[in-house]
Symmetry: C2
DNA sequence: CTCTGTCGTTACCGCAAGTAACATGCTAGT
DNA sequence: ACTAGCATGTTACTTGCGGTAACGACAGAG
């Protein structure tokens, strides 16, 4: 039959696609974010044009690869966010989930955050937009949605929630990035410090009167 | 004399260097972060090898260019941070300064934040560190220092200040990036929303009881 | 046996980073 | 005045990567 044939082909194509993505994963994990298409193809045991037939261009492969990890991370985060617990506990669990993920696979994390994406094919004419850091954006939107659903923010809540979503995600990301590089403290301490920041401890703290030189 | 000669040459070299940097600036402002060395050289009215003699490689030119803008932005931020005013006002002024800067020169801002840096020259062997987003790091450290100097955080204040410095900078960056792309509100509203977040409004807000579907 | 479509290859193009080797002009020593 | 040295600039090249065109084998339909 036509349909069964197509299904078979589709299945085979999907399996190939998954194999290719896993090979790409291995290479990225080994070579970092600047893994070349040649290297990925070689790791998969095939040659470049097949990659291009499956993913269009490097951006497409990146997008597919990123989607896998992004989806996985987001579902973990959703679990932490939606837990039936106090807000502070949920926030700490979410921060810890994120930090544990980037701690476990820093190479993958760097690939997701710093996509390189300097192709010579001109996507010229962009004024400010594009620039493709989809993971941060998706996390920000997701968090915004949760905030807007569960926290009572009065009028204009949607916009406020979105600002906060992106802001909190950025805080988490930058602090995590710095922490990964320097490891100045344990993960638990970092989580506590960030949660304290979100809980207004900066506003509540008093001025320090005597400067170091006075 | 030998010394006077050398001084003349040094001055001439420095002037050339500045001219080259200004040309690079113009190109980056026009072409975005993926400006090619050829284009920069052409804009400066010279050819590639001169650029390489002055800056070593593309990373060197990037570093020099980034240092100029980073220094300029940091001095503006320092002015806002060190103003003799209430903490909330200072925080809002700092946020607004940063956002105004990225709003005025989005291309430069993108160049600073997304350096591309995917050279084929292997800096292999890095585990987690490097990855070169020096602007965010420098802003984080700077802010940490100001916080530690001026806010009374009790014991372990230095570490807490650093976490907060990097976290706040990341919040500002991510929210600014998103805002630049979507422009969902005015700059003043964004500043207010972020300051509210830092002032603990997330913790203070009540739960929303009735979900949208219940 | 041929036609068609998928999976795969080799060989190529264009482009950008980076370099080697050559040309030129200025200052200085003899 | 002639030549040595040194900075400045050039052309022309190599390497490596993203991306593609054109060609080769193997499956099933008529």
């Amino acid at each position: 039959m036509d349909t069964t044939q197509r299904t078979d082909q589709q299945r085979s194509a999907d399996r190939r696609r998954r194999e290719l993505l896993e090979a790409a994963d291995r290479v990225v994990l080994r070579d970092g974010p600047q893994a070349s298409m040649n290297a990925i193809a070689a790791e998969a045991g095939i040659t470049k044009p097949i990659l291009y037939r499956h993913f269009g261009d490097k951006g497409g492969l990146y997008a597919a690869l990123a989607k896998r990890h992004t989806d996985a991370l987001l579902s973990s985060l959703r679990a932490a966010l939606d837990a039936p617990a106090e807000r502070r506990e949920r926030v700490e669990a979410t921060l810890d989930t994120y930090l544990a993920a980037i701690e476990a696979l820093p190479q993958v994390y760097r690939f997701l955050m710093h996509p390189v994406e300097g192709g010579q094919t001109a996507d010229q004419g962009f004024d400010t937009g594009n620039h493709s850091v989809p993971l941060l954006r998706r996390m920000g939107e997701e968090l915004a949605q949760v905030i807007e659903e569960r926290v009572d923010l009065g009028p204009n809540s949607q916009q406020l929630a979105r600002v906060w979503g992106h802001g909190i995600v950025g805080m988490m990301h930058a602090a995590g990035d710095w922490w990964l590089g320097e490891r100045p403290c344990s993960r638990a301490e970092l989580v506590r410090s960030l949660a304290d920041l979100l809980w207004g401890r900066l506003a509540a703290a008093g001025d320090k009167v005597g400067g170091p030189g006075f």
